[in-house]
């Protein structure tokens, strides 16, 4: 290090998915950070996940709980798939129950020396570098005197600094401004301050995180949605994602030899395909033909379905000649079904991204864009679709998306929720009245990087699946 180079702020990764990107590396090492949020906002879990991941790497940490029972923490974290017991047994994690008797009577001044004496011993015995204090407001309410609260907080802060602890203090957000004074002081004292909130959007609750201060460091300053789902907390820093799409790749069959010809040889890898049409126009049948053929050719396909259950979808496809069961049985095909209303868009997204991470599919089929709107707000559905398409494009995955249009021939409805610029190919399926009978027609509206047909093509759906008829004019 030369003389005019200052040592950069050392950071400690939290290993919480997405958070280190927002914090540009992690929490400040050897310093105190504060996380403020309302009841149920997930602040304890942020602290616990940080210590849990560190403990898994062999870095010991202490979780001090002023409110919850250690036994409850062990049970609650099991739902995320975490097993704390072995880490506690081998001295990598200590759940320090510091519950304060709510019936205790206060008469005269007191200090937190007892707490610090216990903490001091445990830190030395374990060689701990990380400490989470959940929730410091319990202690402050007990003191209930502004000057003494600040003195105790300062003493605690100084003590943690002297012991070179990377500390995270959680604080319950005040419901009214009478108690805001604690938080102003904490904001001032801490080196890094994170706010959490849990609000209702379009009848679904949405968790958000915002970093409001980070002394000596830059940070992502937006509000970031997050979800709590196994295997832990996931933040979705959408606005931090640079577009790093792969170039459109080699073609694979659409599953219909005739359609391959119309679209220039097949769907290209890393491309997004929108299949649009009114209800009953054959969108799902087309997707199933593709899925079936792709699996038979050794591709792995993940189907995200928001319209039907797995069993209903498989049996519906059997009637049009496509048996998806063998592909499911040998792991080439995975169906992930859920009602759009079942959870928020962020949670749907995390489930889908986890499934992609696990399965590593080469194709994703998403049914449907129109159903995604029922995840909450249009904005949430848009972010879901955008993130799904981006992820697939970054990973070289082909994504097929169906979209149900309401009227029979409304081209403007193609994209549904404003994703058209991310869509490479559009196939439109219609039923039109033709000489007294309904005729099914298919049109390749666009296909980037391909020479494709611009005509309407008649097709039929039978128990053999889709058959595209000879070209008509």
């Amino acid at each position: 290090m030369t003389e005019n180079q200052l040592p950069s702020l050392s950071k400690c990764p939290t290993q919480i998915e997405g958070l280190d990107m927002i914090l540009k590396g992690g929490l400040p090492s050897g310093r105190t950070s504060v996380i403020i949020g309302g009841p149920g906002s997930g602040k304890s879990l942020f602290g616990l996940e940080f210590l849990y991941r560190a403990a898994l790497d062999g870095e010991p940490g202490i979780f001090i709980t002023f409110e919850e029972h250690a036994a409850d923490l062990r049970i609650n974290t099991r739902t995320l798939g975490w097993d704390l017991a072995p880490l506690e047994q081998n001295g990598k994690l200590f759940l320090f129950e510091a519950r304060i008797d709510p019936k205790a009577i206060v008469t005269g001044e007191f200090g937190i020396q007892s707490f610090l004496a216990i903490l001091n011993h445990k830190i030395k015995a374990m060689g701990a570098k990380f400490v989470v204090i959940d929730a410091i407001d319990v202690l402050m309410r007990l003191i209930n005197d502004e000057r003494r609260e600040q003195n105790e907080l300062l003493a605690l802060h100084q003590w943690l600094s002297e012991h070179k602890m990377t500390a995270l203090l959680t604080v319950k957000a005040p419901r009214d401004s009478n108690h805001a004074r604690h938080f102003e002081f904490l904001d001032y004292m801490a080196d890094c301050v994170i706010h959490l909130d849990n609000r209702m959007l379009g009848q679904l609750s949405t968790r958000r995180l915002r970093v409001i201060k980070y002394r000596g460091s830059g940070f992502g300053s937006n509000e970031y949605p997050f979800v709590i789902e196994p295997p832990g907390i996931t933040l979705l820093p959408i606005s931090e994602i640079g577009l790093s799409h792969q170039a459109l790749g080699k073609r694979i069959s659409t599953g219909l030899a005739e359609l391959d010809k119309l679209i220039g040889g097949g769907f290209r890898r890393a491309s997004s395909v929108l299949i649009t049409g009114s209800t009953g126009s054959g969108k799902t049948t087309l997707c199933s033909a593709f899925t079936h053929a792709a699996c038979a050719n050794g591709e792995k396909v993940l189907c995200l379905n928001f319209e039907e259950s797995e069993a209903a979808l498989v049996s519906a496809m059997l009637s049009s000649g496509t048996d998806l069961n063998p592909a499911i049985a040998d792991g080439k095909l995975r169906l992930l079904t859920a009602m759009p209303e079942a959870m928020g868009a962020e949670q749907h997204l995390v489930r889908a991204l986890n499934a992609i991470k696990q399965m590593q599919p080469s194709c994703v089929v998403l049914e449907s864009a129109s159903a995604c709107k029922r995840m909450g707000t249009e904005q949430a559905a848009f972010e879901y679709m955008m993130r799904m398409i981006n992820t697939c494009k970054e990973m070289g995955i082909i994504i097929l998306i169906t979209n149900q249009t309401i009227s029979l021939s409304n081209l403007d409805e193609i994209s549904g929720i404003g994703i058209s610029s991310l869509i490479d190919s559009v196939i439109k399926m219609q039923m039109v009245e033709d000489v007294g009978a309904m005729q099914r027609k298919l049109l390749v509206v666009k296909s980037r990087g391909s020479v494709h047909s611009h005509r309407h093509h008649n097709f039929q759906i039978s128990d053999q699946g889709i058959t595209i008829l000879k070209e008509d004019v």
């Binding site: 304060i100 205790a104 009577i105 008469t107 007191f110 020396q113 007892s114 004496a117 216990i118 202690l139």
Partner: protein
């Protein structure tokens, strides 16, 4: 008047002022109201953190009355009337 024995565990943090004050106040109160029927155990949390951890005592000074009934008090024990009420002792039981 009952002859129940009162047992106290007083948690102090070394020789700091509030702890000294609590020790004085508790001794004076016992001498005045509970002569010959009290027992005080003094625990210095700076020496014996394990006892503090087990009793879940995070602040000092603190008094845990274990008999005749459980009561916990935090602080330097400055408000005698409140303490007597909390411990269930009649002010009229004063012995000079």
């Amino acid at each position: 008047m009952s002859a129940e024995e009162y047992r106290f565990r007083l948690f102090i943090a070394g020789n700091e002022p509030n702890s000294r004050l609590a020790k004085q106040n508790l001794r004076a109160l016992c001498a005045a109201y509970l002569p010959e029927r009290h027992y005080i155990e003094i625990i210095d949390v700076l020496q014996d953190f394990e006892a503090a951890l087990q009793a879940m005592i995070m602040v000092a000074p603190a008094v845990v009355m274990t008999a005749p009934r459980p009561v916990t008090l935090f602080g330097a024990l400055t408000d005698t009337a409140r303490i007597l009420a909390a411990l269930g002792i009649n002010e009229g039981d004063h012995h000079d």
